[in-house]
Amino acid sequence: MKLRELAHTRTGDKGNRSTLSVIAYDARDFARLEAQLTAERVKAHYSGTVQGHVDRYTLPQLGALQFVLHGALAGGVTRSLALDAHGKTLSSHLLNIDID
């Protein structure tokens, strides 16, 4: 099953870091997401984009995982050469990841 069936996502930018929120539609799916969406897996999904490490914070009462993708924005919105310098579109890309 694709993550898109289970959760919605949003990215924000902070300097050269992208914040990536994953929010379960149904709180009962949170444990699955927490078990399978590790920081390592998210970093691997964005290999080629994320130059640094990935932090993960959990907010079980909101059914949410919060990732911080270090070195994800080619220097940050004010100087990046990327078409999407904010990394606004990165969130949708995660929706394709498989969840058992």
Binding site: R4, H8, R10, G12, D13, K14, G15, N16, R17, T19, S21, I23, Y25, Y46, S47, G48, T49, D55, Y57, L59, Q61, L62, G63, A64, Q66, V68, G75, G76, V77, T78, R79, L81, A82, L83, D84, K88, T89, L90, S92, H93
Partner: protein, 452 residues
């Protein structure tokens, strides 16, 4: 005014934001305060450059238009306006508000101008050895390229303005949520060290500060997350009680939606460690926040807390960072990806021959790999758009990049069309932390005698 609860609305989430939803909110939101957040990271640096050219400018270019739209309504209803549209020139922005008021036949307006965020002189004098955040280099490494340095002031800088009888408060750089926290501290007389309440006030500000992003903007995904009447997306307001608990909602009949999903996305937007959201007034803790439904288009937000404020203030530093030359060209029909890739190779070779091969660059096809660089086309699209962007030290080289893409018309693969090109001077932003006493906020109340 009901002392146990106040209503704060968000009239803009960025400098270019839409004005009709702000008017709708001012008209029907029964607001005590309407806040316009209009300063992105480098906006002040750009405004500072403008002010150097034109000393009477350097504030938000939409200030007059926004004021014409909402000032008569807000004055009539007793809604006070708070905005950072002062950018690099808050005092001139204040005079501009008075000029608009006079033009509208509203002579009794008073405007409080908050200044003191500009710490560039102090940084040049005492701060060149400060380390840049997210870098190993000191501020001195940017010394000859600096444009601006503005500290994120806290709610404390706005309180004297709120204690005045000004109906409009204009500032430059103030932490975005602090523009919402300040009226709560003022109205409910929260102590400056009541960290739990300040944390809850920051939560309210953070939820509101991007305006439409909590009412269904930046949210719709048809079939998965549907948003009703999105073309007429309304802007949000919060009903906040004296204990800091709040309900996020919007005007009845406006487009969009406020639900737990929109609020959760906005709660986490641009937040790193949810337990430590650093603000000038408090280190807010969102880790235990609860968002619960409270009727149609109403969500209750509770559970934020806080720790004592940091000893330092964050300062955004704007600096010149070279140029970006960019060009785009479209290819369509069978073989469009192959022709796009051939075109990329031609441009890459030509720029290398011109001595530009060593510069940081992007060579990509929009429609295939411009958002995720390692992406591969699964099926051939009907069209692609080539994009080349190169960072160069000089304008001349940036123009060369742009021209080499345009030259694909007559010197590239078959059927390239719709070229566009641009040369941008880059104004980048970096940050340092400074002792908080380096920023000395002041408040000046202007009346019609001072109109622009």
């Amino acid at each position: 005014m009901n002392k146990n609860s106040i209503r704060i609305g968000a009239g803009a989430g960025y400098a270019g934001d839409r004005i009709p939803p702000a008017v709708e909110l001012a008209q029907h939101g029964q607001l005590d305060y309407l806040v316009f957040e209009c300063l992105a990271e480098r906006t002040i640096a750009l405004a500072q450059l403008e002010r150097k050219q034109h000393p009477e400018k350097g504030f938000d270019p939409l200030l007059a238009e926004r004021m014409r739209a909402v000032l008569p309504i807000c004055l009539k209803q007793g809604t006070r306006i708070i905005t950072n549209m002062g950018a690099a020139n808050p005092s001139q922005a204040g005079r501009e508000v008075l000029r608009v008021a006079r033009e509208l036949g509203l002579p009794d307006v008073k405007v409080a101008v908050v200044q003191g965020d500009d710490v560039l002189p102090r940084l040049l004098q005492d701060g060149l050895q400060l380390p840049l955040l997210d870098s190993d280099a000191p501020l001195a490494s940017l010394q000859d390229r600096l444009i601006s340095a503005n500290a994120y002031l806290g709610a404390d800088a706005l309180l004297p303005a709120l204690e005045s009888d000004a109906q409009v408060i204009v500032c430059g750089r103030v932490a975005d949520p602090a523009m919402f926290l300040a009226p709560l501290m003022h109205h409910f007389a929260w102590a400056a060290n009541d960290w739990a309440k300040l944390g809850q006030g920051i939560l309210v500000g953070h939820l509101l500060e991007c305006a439409g992003q909590i009412t269904g903007g930046y949210f719709a995904d048809p079939g998965f997350k549907d948003v009703p009447n999105p073309a007429r997306l309304g802007f949000p307001l919060a009903e906040v009680r004296s204990d800091g608990s709040a309900v996020i909602t919007k005007v009845n009949g406006s487009g969009g939606c406020v639900n737990v999903a929109t609020c959760t996305e906005q709660l986490l937007y641009e937040i790193e460690n949810p337990a430590r959201y650093l603000q000038p007034d408090v280190v807010a803790d969102f880790s235990q926040v609860l968002l619960t439904p409270d009727g149609p288009d109403r969500v209750r937000a509770t559970g934020a807390s806080g720790q004592p404020r940091p000893d330092t203030l964050k300062v955004t530093v704007g600096y010149h960072d070279g140029f970006i030359g960019e060009g785009q060209m479209s290819y369509g029909g069978p073989g469009c990806v192959a022709r796009g890739q051939l075109a990329l190779e031609l441009v890459r070779q030509r720029l290398q021959d011109a001595g530009l091969g060593g510069y940081e660059a992007r060579y990509e096809l929009i429609g295939v790999n411009s958002l995720i660089p390692q992406a591969q086309a699964i099926a051939e699209p009907d069209e692609v758009r080539l994009r080349v962007a190169v960072r160069t030290p000089t304008r001349r080289e940036a123009l060369l990049v742009a021209n080499e893409v345009e030259a694909l018309y007559t010197n590239g693969p078959a059927a390239g069309g719709g070229a566009s090109k641009s040369v941008r001077e880059v104004v980048a932003a970096a940050a340092v932390l400074v002792p908080r006493e380096w920023a000395q906020p002041t408040v000046t109340v202007l009346d019609q005698g001072a109109a622009a």
